[in-house]
Subunit: 308 residues, 3 copies
């Protein structure tokens, strides 16, 4: 099995730093990288649609001078004819140098990696992992704050089902001095197993609250996520709660002046567009940094595979 | 907001001439242009399918040495998750150098242009505008006739809903000596506001008729469009009228020998395939010229954006 | 009409050898070929999905330095608006240098070839032809056995509807000393017209059997195909027969040590995954060889068209 990225924990802190260093160098000297993957191909195998993530991988490979093949939804794929993920991985290994796979089933990218003869990047598997989103998040924090430790990180919204949230907590828990402020309705609190396996196991300080306004002044980072109507047991609770977790300019009155506001996108209405021009809004920078981290990741995996 | 093309009126007559000059030079010296966009990307964001238009943009960018990312229908896009056009434009600005957007809603490409940090080309928005089709039409007339003024232009078929027709009339109305012959069933006549705002406002001569045969001898250009069954209030009228607006070889008996027959394609049966080999049939040339005008347009907008 | 590949019989034995020689040279010296199609484009027009075939063509063109445009299913295409295949072929001729077309209707690629001004490759038309699969099959046998004649070729499964089977029989029938062993349930026997027009007409020896185990020791090649439930008149027959045509490791006990096991993929369960690591399993090699034959084919057709 070639070195792959299935979960963010697959990479050591040193390796994450290496990726961020590469990404920063790409940002500073893009021309140095623009032909490195000439003649190489990424296969974007998206068994469910995710335009933003897919286009990020494709832009990343193209900016390295490489090319793209793939599909953007399952009905266009051989899977519709009953082919297994293992077989698809073996077939695609004949066509491309690296795979980015999105799949509705948890574990599918791991199965692909175990059967492919080329590296596989998990581009999101069900509610499980989405490690390249976490790479984007880490570079955003690193560039905005200059470091990844010694931060009070607020995470707001759906902490129960949001896979990006769990990956981000796992990743940041490896840095010194991180403290989490978990802001959510009761129904969408961080699952116990995440608290137990990560936060408590490592002795990471955290607080849980339903009140965004009360904790706003403490936050260095505010990571917003979407509160989806379908997560609630009854409509009443949803209507009562939904506005509490929408970020508007007036809710920032007591926030730090160097707060960094993040969101994995797409947003629906969790962050008012009136905040877009606030210098603390970092969610579109996240998109850009995500592309650079994917470039760094492609380079790292192709080098470890001996392809570059 | 970067210089974009939302409606054909966004460009002056001088700018249209500049695009046609560039297109003619590309046709004469393709090799001169084949690497100009190396390292640049167009994003083809097609929220509704339009294969011909999408592939024309993609071929155009590839023939300039650039690359392509994008999607071909809305269900593959983040829009399915409720993302706004404004957010999509901001995100895609992180991935590409220029956008070509097709959208079922009028005005969507303008919203995109107002939010993107890169140029946006309207590749068709609802029944509203389709300016790159008009660019193709103009180059076709210019190359076939040697000039864009002093022409009798027949437009036949659905003049009420056909967006390409309204754009073409708006564009040609800016040239000296153009006269329009508007041929359609009563039900599908050119809307009053187009006559008032463009033809009457500028004192452009025009006649309206239901009889293609009677006016055929006068025409320098015959622009055919599709008469769609669903535009008629009752089936009887449709059946009575549909054959009057189908071009067959025998209907050309009194046409000029240098008539230029055009159609925006796809055609269903508005022009008999028996006409395809007639030297007056220009509708496949239109396709080719559309590609060259899109190449010229991409170059112009990327230069104005400072990307080239 | 430009030289195209609609059915495997379009190419002489000498031309097939030429393609295999080119493919072998590409495998030996890929760098020699990596820029030959710079500036050229293949249009992959897939009116029905077939990911594996489409990606094979796209990878082939990219490895020659060329580029790709196209669509992966009919609903994204102008066909949904009623455009004829003939018109699509004329339009695409303005955008690309060669077409690979998959279409649910038999004969559609031929219609395209008759109307295009560029070469057309049939990438599968209904139950009719799929000649590039046969090219993959031929190179696999040639590389595994060193020659295409003097072989006992077992073909197992659905011999009635499997188009790859009919093409393969037609192709191999042109080599000396080939003998066929046709293994299938009664319901799915090779159609009489194939036996009459090819096997009997040329005096090719063949046997028909329902018993895979009994004939296994004789086989040099075992070409497996899928037995589809919907091909059977009643469920009972299907359930009774389906397991007889599934290849498992224990069924290979009396097979030759240099047997070559093939399958056009995707497989569902016709070949047990336990066989994948057996050195006699050649079905993933087939995928790789298919790419190289498509590269050789693109080069040949572009050269004959005067494009290269």
């Amino acid at each position: 099995m070639k070195r792959s990225l299935i979960a963010i924990q697959d990479f050591s802190v040193e390796e994450l730093q290496e990726l961020m260093d590469t990404a920063n160098d790409i940002i500073a000297n893009p021309a140095k990288y623009s032909e490195l993957c000439r003649g190489k191909k990424i296969a974007t195998l998206f068994f469910e649609p995710s335009t933003r993530t897919r286009l990020s991988f494709e832009a990343a490979m193209l900016e390295l001078g490489g090319a793209v093949i793939g599909f953007s939804e399952a009905q266009s794929s051989s899977a519709a004819k009953g082919e297994s993920v293992a077989d698809t991985a073996k077939v695609i290994s004949c066509y491309a140098d690296i795979i980015a796979m999105r799949h509705p089933k948890e574990g599918a990218p791991l199965v692909a990696a175990m059967n492919a003869s080329i590296p596989v990047i998990n581009a999101g598997d069900g509610g499980h992992n989405h490690p390249t989103q976490t790479l984007a998040d880490l570079l955003t924090i690193y560039r905005e704050k200059g470091h990844l430790g010694n931060l009070t990180v607020g995470i707001c919204g759906d902490l129960k089902f949001g896979r990006t949230v769990h990956s981000l907590i796992a990743a940041l828990s490896r840095y010194e001095g991180v403290r989490f402020v978990l802001i959510s309705p009761e129904e969408l609190k961080l699952p116990s197993y995440v608290k137990k396996e990560i936060l408590k196991a490592k002795g990471i300080p955290y607080v849980q609250t339903t009140d965004l306004e009360a904790v706003m002044p403490e936050l260095d980072i505010l990571y917003m996520t979407r509160v989806q109507r379908e997560r609630f047991f009854n409509e009443e609770d949803y209507l009562r709660l939904k506005d509490s977790y929408i970020l508007t300019p007036d809710r920032l009155y007591n926030a730090k002046t160097d707060l960094c506001i993040m969101h994995p996108l797409p947003r629906v209405n969790e962050i008012s567009v009136a905040i877009d021009d606030d210098p603390r809004a970092c969610y579109f920078k996240q998109v850009l940094y995500g592309k650079y981290m994917r470039m760094a990741l492609i380079l790292k995996l192709l080098k470890e595979a001996g392809t570059l």
